[in-house]
Amino acid sequence: MSSFELIYFPLPGRGESIRNILKYANANWEETNPDWPSAKSQTPFGKLPVLVETNSRGEKFTLTETRVIERYLATIFNLYPRNATPQTIATIDQYRDQYSDVFDLFVFVNYAKETNKQQAFDDAARNLVQKHEEILRKNGSNGHYFGGSITYVDISAYSLIHALKQAGFGKEFSEDKAPELNKLLKTVQSKL
């Protein structure tokens, strides 16, 4: 059985979804928080997160890029629906990718201090909530994006919203503005 090492900063950010997927999958994993930027040159492409998988023969597989890591783990830990068609897989990846613009804008405002992007963030977050509340309702208001069980997008959404809320950017994701998403948050939380 493989063991995993997640290399990232000690904050939710772009690593939280990976942590939670590994937790949910009951993977054998640990985290390393390296000195940064001194550890840059030791990473494949100078960026975090990095995932290192070591198989039972001691061979290592190293992967970067947050969403690529999420999708790889979702594939090997069966966090796509059972017997998913290519269309279903793409539909779920589509829901997940929608969070990226919102998150990138959050990074601009919160870390790069580009306050002129605050409005863009608010609009993007509001738009995301509006569309995704509908998706969750259409799926039966059961706290899942697809079907009746957890898929990786549930975990990613939970993690990203958690990161936003923790940083004080959760205004559009409140209980009364986003009841379905908050139901999803509770559903995922209960299973982690």
């Binding site: 890029e65 290519p86 929608q98």
Partner: protein
């Protein structure tokens, strides 16, 4: 008997976020057409008020509608064999190479489209780093103008698209022949493949 699907790509009449999908559809010989809608009038007709949108029509079954440019690319790339469909590690590696370009592309949009000069240095640094790392990757694969094996895969196509956008923005000094010889070899191979398909159509 099911008919092979036909595609409609809905996007603006620019390379942008639609170009890689266009190239995949062309190289695959898929049956497809493009629609350039009135914008923002067309917004309510889209699932998420954004473009591009891909519609797959398979005669008899319901249309399949997909948003998010990279998800569309990946769906088509998998369908037409430009990404491994049976080796999760290889597929992840191929997607990883592609994903490297995403940050740079977003930064380039900031700098050149939104005229946000504060990111120009970071963009330049990122491009230089990508070039350095990718010249290494291409060398490890035998300097044959491909990222993986000896044929054109999805990341090759995206690299070609990104180099083209940098040329359009006149920000391509770091990806020129002298600074990026293997990337330029890759560029020419993709360009040749596209030209061959276009010639067949005539």
């Amino acid at each position: 008997m099911s008919t092979s699907p036909s595609y409609e790509l809905i996007y603006f009449n620019v390379p942008g976020l639609g170009e890689a999908s266009r190239i995949i559809l062309n190289l695959a010989g898929a049956k497809w057409k493009e629609t350039n809608p009135e914008w923002p009038a067309f917004k309510p007709s889209t699932p998420f008020e954004r473009l591009p949108v891909l519609i797959e029509r398979s005669g008899g079954t319901e249309d399949f509608v997909l948003s998010e440019s990279e998800v569309i690319e990946r769906y088509l790339a998998r369908k037409y064999g430009f990404i491994s469909s049976d080796d999760p590690k290889l597929a992840a590696k191929q997607e990883q190479v592609r994903a490297q370009f995403s940050d740079a592309r977003a930064l380039a949009t900031e700098v050149f489209h939104h005229k946000n000069e504060t990111h120009r240095q970071r963009l330049e640094d990122q491009i230089k780093l990508i070039v350095r790392k990718h010249e290494e990757l291409l060398e490890k694969n035998g300097s044959n103008g491909h990222y993986f094996g000896d044929k054109l895969t999805y990341p090759d196509i995206v690299a070609y698209v990104i180099i083209n956008s940098l040329r359009i923005y006149k920000f391509d000094v770091h990806v020129n022949e002298e600074n990026a010889p293997r990337l330029n070899k890759l560029y020419k191979l993709v360009e040749k493949a596209i030209a061959e398909v276009a010639a067949k159509k005539q």
